[in-house]
């Protein structure tokens, strides 16, 4: 089977190398399909419980390499496969306008395939070195994908920013693995288990933290998120979808895997993850609201959703720590399910953003508007995505958030004072996230798709704006409908997926003795209720809609301009803008955010053209990235005199080196002697 696969892979690569640029995409699509088939063929049985495991001979520096796909890996592999498939189908048509850049496209599709394979490898290898290698392969291929439009300066800048930060993440992972390897002398993942059993719990926690930081950078937890809002917007839309759909999820996978492997103090870990996640969630959405670049807005929402997933994991860990089975179950289930959900609706949203970009060639939502007339499909899909990401019933987002809420409320009953306070904060955080998300997506959807077109090209009030905008081709919409369909399915029949999740969650609970006499909530059963409730809800809506139709049949239906409170000349200029929509919020949140204004006051009776821009900035980025870079440059400037071209100085270095090596020990000795003397006084 392996040979067959590698043969196909090889032929695909050669095909991409030499095919003409229109067919490259087709090859990539089929290759992704093949990969998904092969991996799914292994993963599906693994998900329902029969693990797949093989041991490869490996090489001298690595030792034996064991490949193992358990339920957890299987879940992630399937999630990855789905989004990669939708991504490649969408991307194939999305890339049509770029058909002239042949080499560029070749690199693009090759990296796409490499990314897919490396992601699957990451989910399945059990050997530190191979893991690191596939990890960096993933990072590099993702980088190549992001910088597709590399001739744009800021694209390259964002790409390099991403590359360096993922390298930092790999450094942290390396430290962790070295720690294990030094103590146990093996690179296999089982060594980590062994390690955490023989070492004190403290060591285990430290180890976990090192790994956590490493994975958190990839996953985009605040404050390690700074690469994310830059990398996602500059990438081609299907890549943005994949980046925030699956690539950052790999970080989540890593964290979960480490929770599985490291036998540390779960409660502490849980608290840490919980805090970081709540902060990430709130911070992400708080910044998302003030973004006026559609893709950047979505990028910040990825941070928010990572936060939600993290809350789930944190709850799960605390559940393990406090031997509260239901809590653990709900937490991890919620986290895993939300991983799937987010990969679905976030890729969907990014694809829609891509459609918008291709038809209007701008991402600044202040220039958009009224697109629902030209692009009804895109609008509808975006609406579905928005509802889902806000966690509104009857869509999938609600299910996972409901599970996490369940976990938190379940924690309520087994908690002591301190943790009760934390419970309240978690609830507050989650609710705030939800509310802000609604605020944000009402803004995004309505400004982009509703009202009139704001772009200067069509400033006149007519609703059919410039006309250049048009709906995308079928093959570009099809993958989006795939995602949407799956989302609705999850929303309506969650229990199906919960049953699929039983095995992965069981892995976490395997080696914990749970406390049976804790109050058990029927939250899981209630999901079965939600099945038919949401179905009923939809039916009810349809019923009311039907009634409305019936009633309105016999009525006079007129169409008039919008009621302008007496001013009957509606123009795109007088519409509410995104900026004004969030103005109150911005004023409230000013201390937390940092927005630079660039405005010119209006004066005179007949004022000339004025403008008013706001540039939202990320304070954490400023503190963690910009300022240190400036500092580095400053320190650098102190030392550039070294290579100053003067021969004598060069020789002086030699003298100084020799002299100091001779003298300094003498000085130190004498100093010590004096010290001793003083001590003996």
């Amino acid at each position: 089977m392996t040979y067959l696969y590698s043969a196909i892979l090889f032929s695909a690569i050669t095909a991409i190398l030499f095919a003409k640029s229109t067919t490259k995409g087709m090859v990539a699509v089929s290759m992704v399909f093949v990969t998904s088939l092969f991996s799914g063929f292994i993963a599906v049985p693994a998900l329902v419980g029969n693990e797949y495991q093989i041991l490869l001979a490996g090489t001298i520096p690595f030792g034996a390499v064991s490949i193992k796909i358990d339920a957890l890996s299987a879940w992630f592999i399937l999630v990855i496969n789905f989004t990669m498939i939708t991504g490649v189908i969408y991307g194939k048509s999305y890339m049509k306008p770029y058909a002239r850049q042949r080499t560029n496209l070749t690199m693009h599709w090759l990296s796409y395939i490499l990314l897919h394979i490396s992601l699957i490898l990451i989910c399945s290898v059990q050997n530190a070195m191979v893991f690191l290698i596939s990890w960096e392969a993933m990072a590099l291929s993702a980088f190549m994908l992001v910088i597709f439009e590399s001739y744009k300066a800021d694209t390259l800048k964002a790409g390099i920013n991403y590359l360096i930060q993922s390298h930092v993440s790999i450094l942290f992972l390396m430290l962790g693995f070295i720690f294990v390897a030094v103590k146990t002398g093996s690179y296999d993942f089982n060594a980590i288990v062994e390690f955490s059993h023989q070492q004190p719990v403290m060591a285990g926690t430290v180890l976990f933290l090192s790994f956590f930081i490493g994975f958190a950078i990839k996953a985009g937890f605040v404050p390690f998120h700074t690469w994310l809002p830059h990398a996602h917007p500059v990438a081609p839309s299907h890549i943005s979808g994949i980046m925030s759909g699956v690539v950052i999820k790999i970080g989540i996978y890593g964290i979960l895997r480490m929770v599985l492997l490291i036998n540390a103090d779960y409660t502490t870990i849980g608290y840490i993850i919980l805090f970081v996640s709540i902060f990430s969630g709130v911070y992400g959405v708080a910044l998302a609201i003030i973004q006026h670049n559609l893709k950047k807005l979505l990028a910040y929402h990825s941070i928010e959703n990572i936060g939600i997933i993290g809350i789930g994991i944190g709850i799960g860990c605390i559940g393990l720590g406090t031997a509260n089975e239901l809590m653990a179950t709900l937490g991890f289930m919620g986290a895993l399910l939300h991983t799937l959900n987010h990969s679905l609706f976030k890729s969907l949203l990014f694809y829609s953003a891509g459609n918008v970009y291709q038809s209007t060639h701008t991402m600044s939502i202040e220039r958009l508007g009224g697109l629902i007339k030209q692009m009804p499909h895109t609008a509808l899909l975006f609406l579905i995505g928005a509802l889902a990401i806000c966690g509104l019933p009857p869509l999938n987002g609600f299910i996972s958030e409901f599970l996490i809420y369940g976990g938190i409320y379940d924690w309520l009953f087994s908690a002591d004072l301190i943790s009760l306070i934390i419970v309240t904060f978690s609830i507050l955080g989650l609710v705030l996230i939800g509310g802000l998300a609604i605020f944000c997506f009402t803004k995004a959807f309505s400004i982009v798709f509703l009202g009139l077109n704001r772009s200067p090209s069509t400033s006149s009030g007519n609703t059919t704006s410039s006309g250049s905008e048009s709906e995308m081709s079928f093959w570009q919409l099809f993958p989006m409908y795939m995602a949407a369909a799956l989302m609705i399915f999850i929303g309506l029949f969650p229990s199906v997926f919960l049953n699929l999740l039983i095995k992965p969650v069981a892995l976490f609970k395997s080696d914990i003795v749970f406390n049976p006499n804790l109050p058990q909530m029927g939250t899981l059963d209630s999901l079965h209720t939600i099945n038919w409730v949401s179905a009923g809800f939809i039916l009810f809506i349809l019923a009311v809609w039907g009634i409305r139709k019936l009633v309105n049949q016999s009525k006079v239906i007129a169409t008039e301009p919008t009621w302008g409170c007496g001013y009957c000349l509606p123009s795109s200029k007088i519409q509410y803008t995104a900026n004004s929509f969030v103005r109150t919020y911005t004023k409230l949140a000013k201390p937390m955010l940092c927005i630079e204004k660039d405005e010119t006051e209006i004066e005179g009776i007949f004022p000339t053209k004025k403008h008013y821009d706001t540039h939202p900035y990320d304070n954490i980025e400023r503190i963690l990235i910009d300022i240190p870079l400036i500092k580095v440059a400053a320190v650098r400037e102190w030392f550039v005199f070294l290579q100053n071209g003067h021969l004598q100085r060069y020789i002086l270095y030699g003298i100084i080196f020799i002299a100091s090596v001779i003298v300094i020990p003498v000085l130190i000795d004498s100093f010590l002697i004096i010290l001793q003397f003083l001590n003996h006084l």
């Binding site: 990890w135 030094v182 580095v632 080196f657």
Partner: protein, 475 residues
């Protein structure tokens, strides 16, 4: 055989230098290539054999000799292309070839020498030949570079000589007067520590000029900048390895004595300073060749860290040297094609290389990944092992500092390389960009792939040789 090799090489040098005929020169070059390879094979065949009393083919020597040969054949090939393209005057051509042959010969001899004085002599020879190579362009800057290189190297050689004198002083207590490493190892317990200390200090300082470490790294940068790229490849790969051998063989002696710890501290200081200097200038320089040179300094710093950390670090250091030699030379070879496209060394005037020469661009990309030791590359393994050694030796803070510096270096390196690869240069007319023959990059691909292969999946024998070469340090 060594005798024949040396004699033959010297003969070839003289002949090349003497005649002005292009054909004969090329023939002689090919001859030398053959001689070099035959010599290498022979040395592998009589493992641990000794020729002329002063040349022992021990494992480290063999490893480096093979590396040298692997690097030098493409180096000769590229020099040939280079010289032909610049239609040099016969005189400068023959000087160049003679010098490069002499360089290769003396380096190989120095690898195999088992006597500290012999190493020293051949080090002098390398300075001589290298200076001829650096001065190849015969302009003011080249002259300045040469002058500095020669002067610094002369001083360093003097340092080494003083070191040797001190060594003999420390040896004189034991009654024997044989300065061969074997004897030193044997007598290591009776050596006078005071003289030994001074000896190590001076020898170390002296060889840093070749190895490219603080304090004497300075002239080396100018040399690699000014020498033609194929020669630069040798200077920044094989020559550095020679400097390493000079220090390492003596370090093995020190390691047997109570001074081991002290020596480690000295090496630590020098290595960390080197990485720091590399960081400072990697973020600063715009001259691509100098950038490569500084990255070599960084790598040498890592290697010495591995040595000082001990344990698995010894193994890692040797591995890192070999892989670095392969990668860095391919980078320098690639630089020539880059220069032919843009006619400039400065990052500012170079860009969007991907468009003009995709094959070369991919070489540059892979070489970048290797030079920054990102995982798929071979150097990742060695660097990982070095970090592990540091961790094992409980030099955690050193490790963290180094990681920080390396991150900055990678950032700077990435910024420049991707600028070169992707960002278009404003006002660069690509009307008369020469069409680069992709087959010229073949050797570079070969070297890079070799680096990856040796790193990720080294053959048994290779690993055994490295283990063998550091066996004396496992105490």
């Amino acid at each position: 055989m060594t005798g024949i090799y040396l004699a033959g090489a010297i003969l070839i040098v003289i002949l090349i230098f003497a005649n002005r005929n292009k054909i004969i020169n090329n023939v002689l070059l090919i001859l030398f290539g053959l001689l070099q390879s035959v010599f290498t094979i022979y040395q592998c065949s009589n493992y641990k054999g000794t020729d002329l009393g002063y040349f022992t083919s021990d494992s480290l020597g063999i490893l480096f000799l093979i590396t040298l040969t692997v690097v030098s054949l493409p180096a000769l090939f590229h020099s040939y292309l280079y010289i032909n393209r610049h239609d040099e005057s016969p005189q400068s051509r023959s000087v160049y070839f003679a010098a490069i042959v002499l360089l290769i010969t003396s380096i190989s001899a120095a690898y195999l020498a088992n006597h500290i004085a012999v190493v020293w002599i051949f080090t002098e020879l390398t300075t001589l030949s290298a200076s001829a190579l650096i001065y190849h362009h015969r302009n003011k800057l080249a002259l300045e570079g040469t002058w500095k290189y020669v002067f610094i190297c002369a001083i360093s050689i003097t340092f080494v000589f003083i070191g040797i004198l001190f060594l003999s002083l420390s040896l004189s207590g034991t009654g024997s007067s044989d300065l061969s490493y074997a004897n030193l190892m044997a007598k290591s317990d009776q050596l006078n520590p005071f003289w030994l200390r001074l000896a190590f200090l001076f020898i170390f300082t002296g060889f840093t000029a070749k190895l490219g470490l603080v304090p004497m790294y300075t002239a080396g940068v100018d040399a690699k900048d000014k020498a033609p790229a194929p020669a630069g490849a040798l200077l920044s790969s094989a020559l550095m390895n020679m400097g390493f051998i000079g220090i390492f063989r003596f370090y093995t002696v020190i390691a047997q004595t109570p001074l081991h710890h002290w020596a480690n501290i000295v090496i630590f200081v020098s290595a960390i300073l080197s990485i720091f200097v590399a960081t400072v200038y990697m973020t600063k320089v715009v001259n691509i060749k100098r950038m490569f040179a500084y990255s070599s300094i960084e790598h040498m710093g890592l290697v010495m860290l591995g040595i000082a950390a001990g344990g698995i670090g010894y193994y890692a250091a040797v591995l890192h040297l070999i892989l670095h030699a392969l990668v860095k030379s391919s980078l320098f070879f690639q630089f020539n094609q880059l220069y032919r496209v843009f006619q400039s060394k400065s990052v500012a005037y170079v860009g969007n290389y991907f468009k003009y020469n995709p094959t070369g661009a991919i070489v540059l990309l892979i070489a970048f990944i290797s030079a920054t030791a990102m995982p798929p590359s071979g150097l990742f393994v060695s660097e990982f092992l070095i970090f592990r050694a540091l961790f094992e030796g409980q030099y955690i803070f050193v490790l963290l500092l180094v990681l920080l510096l390396l991150t900055i270096i990678i950032w700077a390196f990435a910024k420049n390389i991707f600028k070169i690869l992707f960002t278009p240069v404003v006002g660069f007319d690509d009307s008369n960009v020469p069409q680069i023959n992709p087959w010229e990059s073949l050797t570079q691909y070969a070297l890079l792939l070799a680096a990856v292969w040796l790193g990720l999946n080294p053959p048994e024998i290779f690993v055994e040789l490295i283990r063998e070469s550091v066996i004396l340090l496992q105490i």
